[in-house]
């Protein structure tokens, strides 16, 4: 006598018939039988991979290192020396004093021939352009589109001055770097080309040709530089550029359109690191070994309140960019490490050979007494 009830006796056949059509279709995918390549980590494969990596990486590392070494770089820190002795006790007060003379003369010695173009950078240390409050404090629409001149969202606290919107608004623009450098060699002026230092895409699409600064650096606290006003009006009139005049206080200022404000454009490409260099201009003549470059600089920018360094950098450029040994050293390290691993594995392989897939390693194949 069975335990089970057999209620639905007849239904089995009908279900079977009904399900017959449901029989799954056969394909290699549905059966999980797609042809597959199943690599395993054989000693030969692994050692060759490591050898290959080291063979590729060491030469690339050497090349990178050479490229970096070929770059000639002159770095001069001037933030300390450009404070007059009398003011060294209170640097911040000096730098914030608008009437104090900020002019400072420094000399640079060219220790090696520098081929043009020579990039002139200013380098700031301990300056957090990537601070969240700072990096977001801009309005791209306003920069691009003259119609949107009053859209200042995201620019707080530098969005309005005297009740009017600021163009360009925001902390980044407000804190524009304003040290200036005039280079001369053997009392002859060295021209620094300040055109083309920003990205072309920024000039063409990010900063409008018909957007003009408005109400800029007009608030209660002056941050950084005013926008460029040093270019004679005539040039722009000749070039059929529109000019804008604005009277505030005296004398008369006329501002250039934003797409030509290359210092601003460079500055507004915010740096990801607290130490960064920004292109100031290019010297388009070679500098010879032994040349002495004298620089007259205006030490305007306040880095003293947060003890940030200011450096002036002259650098040539190679295929990897500026002087940076990191990639070369890292490549040599990784290449060397891989070579070491390849050697180590080879030695282990010969000293202690181990058969792959040896069934004796499967414990269930072992003698029952063995464990």
């Amino acid at each position: 006598m069975s335990s089970s009830s057999a209620a639905a006796f007849g239904s089995a056949d009908s279900t079977a018939a009904r399900r017959n059509t449901k029989r799954p279709k056969y394909s290699k995918f549905t059966q999980q039988e797609l042809p597959a390549c199943k690599p395993i980590l054989t000693p030969r494969a692994v050692i060759s991979v490591f050898l290959l990596v080291s063979v590729v990486f060491v030469p690339v590392g050497v090349a990178s290192l050479l490229a970096s070494r070929k770059v000639v770089e002159i770095i001069h820190r001037y933030d300390a020396e450009c404070i007059p002795q009398s003011n060294s006790s209170d640097k911040v007060a000096y730098i914030q004093n608008p009437s104090a003379d900020k002019t400072c003369n420094i000399t640079l010695n060219v220790h090696k021939h520098m081929k043009s173009p020579i990039h002139v950078y200013y380098q700031l240390d301990n300056f957090y352009q990537n601070h969240r409050r700072y990096v977001k404090s801009r309005n791209d629409e306003q920069l691009r589109d003259s119609e949107k001149w009053d859209s200042t969202s995201g620019c707080k606290p530098e969005d309005m001055a005297n009740g009017k919107p600021i163009v360009p608004c925001g902390l980044i623009a407000w804190s524009l770097f304003n040290d200036t450098y005039i280079f001369s060699r053997n009392n002859k002026n060295l021209t620094v080309n300040k055109k083309g230092i920003s990205w072309k895409s920024d000039r063409d699409h990010k900063f409008g040709k018909d957007v003009f600064p408005k109400n800029f650096q007009n608030g209660s606290i002056i941050g950084g530089a005013r926008l460029n006003d040093s270019i004679p009006v005539s040039i722009y009139v000749n070039n059929n550029y529109q000019c804008m005049y604005e009277i505030y206080g005296s004398p008369l200022f006329f501002y250039e359109q934003l797409s030509q404000q290359e210092d601003l454009i460079v500055w507004m490409r915010t740096a990801a690191l607290p130490t960064f260099r920004k292109l100031y201009g290019k010297i388009e003549v070679d500098l010879n070994e032994g040349d002495t470059i004298s620089v007259i600089l205006k030490n305007n920018y306040n880095t003293y309140s947060f003890s940030g360094k200011k450096k002036l950098v002259l650098s040539t450029t190679g295929w990897l960019g500026g002087k940076n040994d990191f990639l070369g050293i890292a490549y040599l390290t990784v290449g060397g490490l891989c070579f070491f691993l390849a050697m180590a594995f080879t030695i282990i392989y010969f000293v202690k050979p181990r058969q792959l897939g040896d069934p004796s390693y499967l414990s269930w194949n072992r003698n029952p007494g063995g464990h």
């Binding site: 069975s2 335990s3 089970s4 009830s5 057999a6 639905a8 006796f9 239904s11 279900t15 079977a16 029989r23 549905t30 059966q31 999980q32 597959a36 390549c37 199943k38 690599p39 054989t42 000693p43 490591f50 950078y121 300056f127 957090y128 352009q129 990537n130 601070h131 409050r133 990096v135 902390l171 895409s201 699409h205 915010t270 740096a271 990801a272 690191l273 607290p274 130490t275 920004k278 309140s305 003890s307 295929w319 990897l320 500026g322 990191f326 990639l327 890292a330 490549y331 990784v334 594995f345 058969q355 792959l356 897939g357 069934p359 499967l362 414990s363 269930w364 194949n365 029952p368 464990h371």
Partner: protein, 883 residues
């Protein structure tokens, strides 16, 4: 008949993933708090000096919260939301693979396997206990009358089919009175209802398959039971129609183990008592003077063949004897009125399964009836013994052996009687015969006896647990009832100690209770059954598997998986379950890895951005990182196979890695955590050093770091993939190409923040040099560690991979070769089955049709893991999860 909505099942993996998510959440909170405090300190000390940030002197009251909240936003990507979507997708695919599997289609009925529950495939790979029904699950539930012994003459012994035995046919045609009487009992001593179909064929509606088999067999032998109207039974023998009037039905109960009919022969008015039942319920009541030795022998012989035996007997009642008895019987039955009322209620709960109900709930009231029945069922003229075969399904012994090698413990829960259950258990490798196996029985008529028996078995079990011996226990529903209600603790301990158990005569609710006990010990349970009486057990278990078989689809509908045959369970667990587990283990940990990777970079960046909570990556990149760049390659890991299906089936022990959760646990997770930390360090340091000074432009550094992450994750996926199909290559390398395509598109839009960035970067040699550096620096230590482990500390999976792919000698060594099993002769095998009625459970491979249905008799323990954990753990904490 579905009993409410079963609660949704959660796999062990899901639980583990939830646990890990919780841990990551705590980690996230800690990070947020530390960075939030650091950020506020930095703000109050440093940021005040950074005039260009222009912090107001006096901020709003909530100012202290701003920076922690910024970090909370920044770190919210630490917990991958995409994991839920990815898991749902791949789980759906796992289920589809089960549905599609051609090797799991029952060719007889063309029933494909079906995964109703798409969410729990991983659990299949972690099963530790399988609770199986017997009839219809292990067996085909196709009862066939095979042999009989009438008045000491054996029929059907030569050809194994009594219906074709010439001697029997001859005896029938010659009208031998014993044979005719035997056939009459076969035909009418039952509760079968015959119905006539339109075509004139007679169909039988039988409560039990055995009765059906007997009636069919009788009909075959020209004793056709063709009509039942009211109490009148009509039987056609040869050409004459015989009528009988049923006077009383003495129902079958598990205790009585027999059923009888009292009926009046309408031909001559005689009152007859016809009985059929288990040998121990019939033979002792034989007429004094009748030799029953023949029948005892017959029963033993048949039982050894695994046949279900029934003894048939009858006697003539005197009119007055019947009158007197029938009064008592009616009175006794009337006390059962309560029973009936209860019966309907409980019936509803327990599913209709006649004697199982009778047994557990109405035992006491039944006892009274049984006593009355007893008064008339004696002095019987035993006619003979029938032997019915319930064939094992194809491949059941191999399936059970393979799964037991995989470390899965089997419990058989059956409503059937003990002897039959033991026979079936023996024939399908469920338990081993002496001397390897030992069967301990828990029984007893009273509570006290049960308790003593339970304690004795427990003691034996504790002693033998260190021996490589297959100890199993047998318990029947009556004892189980006591054990579950009064000695639950002892029984639980027993349940943990015993790898095998046979529970006979259990009710559906007891089945569910047993599942509950194992679940409470934190075992993953799989219940498999085919009938309505298994539904509760199936719903209760972690995984319910229904056999869509002869007993209807009730179980299959309630189950999470339905398969056509028991043997598909092997493939369901070892192939689908294992792959699902492995794939999910990789996918979930990888999801955490990639989220942590990007989040660590953000955290590192915050240290160089004045702890202000600046995001290095723009929001588009962050979104695309989770949605496209990292989720596509990992989705194809659903096609990954660490070992081929054949290897897994040959080495089922490998399932241990899944059962013990070796591939997803806090320590493997720590590995992935470490990997993401290491990769974040590599990507971050290289990005900020290679893109320093004049190149340190925010958008560029951000894209360099993001590219580094994408490259690393592509190589991580590639390294963790064991088998590359074309789809994997497409997804991994195509995704990498897709990353550049998407970013070029964004770089072409002037309105987007990263306008021209990607074009600029791709033109710079330093970009590519940095990317290759990150890839090499990130991957070479991982490759080195992996290679070292793979070669010098290989896991079993690695060893098998190596063997499989190098074609080593292992494939021939490890296969389950059918070894000829020496026949144990009957007289040699003195068996110590501690059960009152000693019946030698000698194995005879007659029942199974498959050629591989042999078993090893050599003394090798089933597997290493089990025996190791047994011997190393003195207590019953045989929990692989410790390893």
């Amino acid at each position: 008949m579905s009993r409410g909505i079963p609660e949704p099942k959660l796999t062990a993996m899901d639980a583990m993933i939830d646990k890990l998510t919780g841990a990551i959440f705590v980690f996230q909170i800690v990070v947020v708090m530390v960075l939030g405090i650091a950020g506020n300190v930095w703000k109050d000390t440093e940021a005040k000096k950074q005039w260009y940030v222009l912090y107001p002197d006096k901020g709003p009251w909530y100012e202290l919260l701003i920076i922690p909240l910024r970090f909370e936003l920044l770190c919210s990507i630490m917990i991958p939301i995409s994991i839920k979507v990815s898991l749902d997708l791949v789980k759906g695919l796992y289920a589809k693979f089960i549905d599609w599997d051609h090797r799991m289609v029952d060719l007889e009925t063309s029933t494909p396997s079906n995964a109703t529950n798409t969410a729990i495939s991983e659990d299949l790979g972690q099963v530790e206990y399988i609770l199986t029904d017997k009839t219809g699950t292990l067996t085909e539930n196709k009862m066939i009358f095979r042999r009989c012994c009438i008045s000491g003459i054996f029929y059907g012994n030569e050809n194994g089919d009594a219906l074709k035995d010439v001697e029997l046919l001859h005896a029938v045609s010659s009208g031998s009175p014993d044979v005719v009487q035997f056939l009459t009992i076969m035909a009418i001593c039952n509760t079968v209802i015959p119905t006539q179909s339109k075509t004139g064929d007679i169909l039988y509606k039988a409560q039990s398959q055995d009765e059906d088999a007997l009636v069919q067999a009788a009909a075959h032998l020209h004793m056709v039971f063709f009509n039942k109207s009211g109490n009148i039974l009509e039987v056609k023998f040869n050409s004459s129609v015989l009528q009988y009037e049923v006077l009383e039905t003495l129902e079958f109960t598990s205790d009585r183990k027999r059923m009888s009919l009292v009926l009046r022969d309408c031909q001559n008015g005689k009152i007859l008592l016809l009985s059929k039942g288990a040998d121990e319920a019939i033979l002792p009541y034989a007429r004094t003077g009748q030799q029953t030795r023949n029948f005892v022998e017959a029963v033993e012989q048949y039982a050894h063949l695994g046949l279900r035996t029934l003894c048939l007997a009858w006697r003539e009642l005197r009119e007055d004897e019947y009158r007197e008895w029938s009064l008592m019987f009616r009175e006794a039955n009337s006390t059962l009125v309560d029973r009936e009322v209860n019966g309907i209620l409980v019936n509803d709960i327990l599913y209709s399964n006649s004697y199982e109900l009778n047994f557990s709930v109405y035992y006491l009231s039944q006892w009274r009836v049984a006593e009355v029945c007893q008064r008339i069922e004696h002095n019987l003229e035993v006619l003979g013994v029938t032997a019915i075969e319930d064939r094992l399904q194809d491949g059941v012994p191999e399936t059970i052996e393979t799964l037991r090698k995989a470390g899965i413990n089997f419990w058989m829960l059956t409503g059937d009687k003990q002897n039959t259950a033991i026979q079936i258990a023996l024939s399908c490798n469920f338990i081993s015969p002496e001397p390897k196996g030992q069967l301990l029985s828990i029984d007893g008529k009273t509570e006290d006896e049960v308790r003593r028996s339970l304690e004795r078995v427990l003691l034996t079990m504790r002693i033998t647990t260190s021996e490589p011996k297959d100890v199993a226990f047998v318990i029947d529903g009556w004892a189980l009832d006591f054990a579950l209600n009064h000695y639950r603790k002892a029984f639980t301990e027993l349940a943990i100690l015993s790898r095998t158990a046979i529970c006979c005569r259990v009710t559906p609710s007891q089945k569910a209770q047993l599942v509950q006990i194992l679940k409470s010990c934190d075992y993953r349970t799989l219940a498999i059954g085919d009938g309505g009486n298994d539904v509760r057990m199936i719903q209760q278990a972690d995984i319910g598997v229904g056999i869509s078989g002869r007993e209807g689809l009730q179980a299959a509908r309630a189950a999470d998986y339905s398969i056509g045959k028991f043997r598909f369970l092997k493939r369901l667990i070892l192939v689908h379950g294992r792959y699902s587990y492995n794939r999910t283990a990789f996918l979930s940990q990888y999801s955490f890895y990639k989220s942590l990777l990007i989040c660590f970079i953000q955290i590192f960046f915050s240290f160089i951005s004045g702890v202000s909570g600046t995001s290095l990556f723009n929001s588009v990149s962050l979104m695309a990182y989770n949605v496209f760049y990292t989720s596509v390659p990992v989705l194809v890991s659903v096609l990954d196979k660490d070992l081929s299906e054949e290897t897994v089936i040959q080495h089922p022990q490998i399932l241990f890695y899944c059962q013990a959760g070796r591939l997803l646990n806090p320590s493997t997770f720590a590995g992935w955590f470490g990997r993401s930390l290491f990769h974040a360090v590599v990507v971050f340091l290289i990005s900020i050093h290679a893109y320093a000074y004049d190149k340190s432009e925010m958008e560029e550094v951000s894209m360099v770091a993001l590219s580094g992450c994408i490259w690393l994750q592509a190589f991580v996926v590639a390294m963790e993939t064991n088998s590359f199909t074309i789809l994997q290559h497409l997804a991994i390398w195509g995704n990498l190409a897709g990353f550049y395509a998407i970013n070029w598109i964004f770089s072409a839009l002037p309105a987007s923040g990263m306008y021209t960035i990607m074009f600029r970067l791709c033109r710079q040699p330093s970009y590519w040099i940095s990317i290759f550096l990150m890839t090499a620096a990130g991957m070479s230590p991982i490759l080195a560690i992996k290679y070292f482990r793979y070669t010098y500390r290989p896991s079993k999976i690695n060893t098998l991979q190596q063997a499989e792919r190098l074609g080593g000698p292992i494939l021939s060594l490890g296969t389950i070769e059918p070894q000829p099993r020496p026949l144990i002769e009957k007289d040699v095998s003195t068996l110590s089955i501690t059960q009152p009625k000693n019946r030698n459970p000698v194995y005879e491979p007659l029942l199974s049709d498959s050629p591989n249905a042999t078993r090893r008799s050599s003394g090798t323990p089933f597997d290493f893991f089990q025996s190791q954990s047994r011997s190393s753990l003195p207590n019953y904490s045989r929990n692989c999860k410790d390893n």
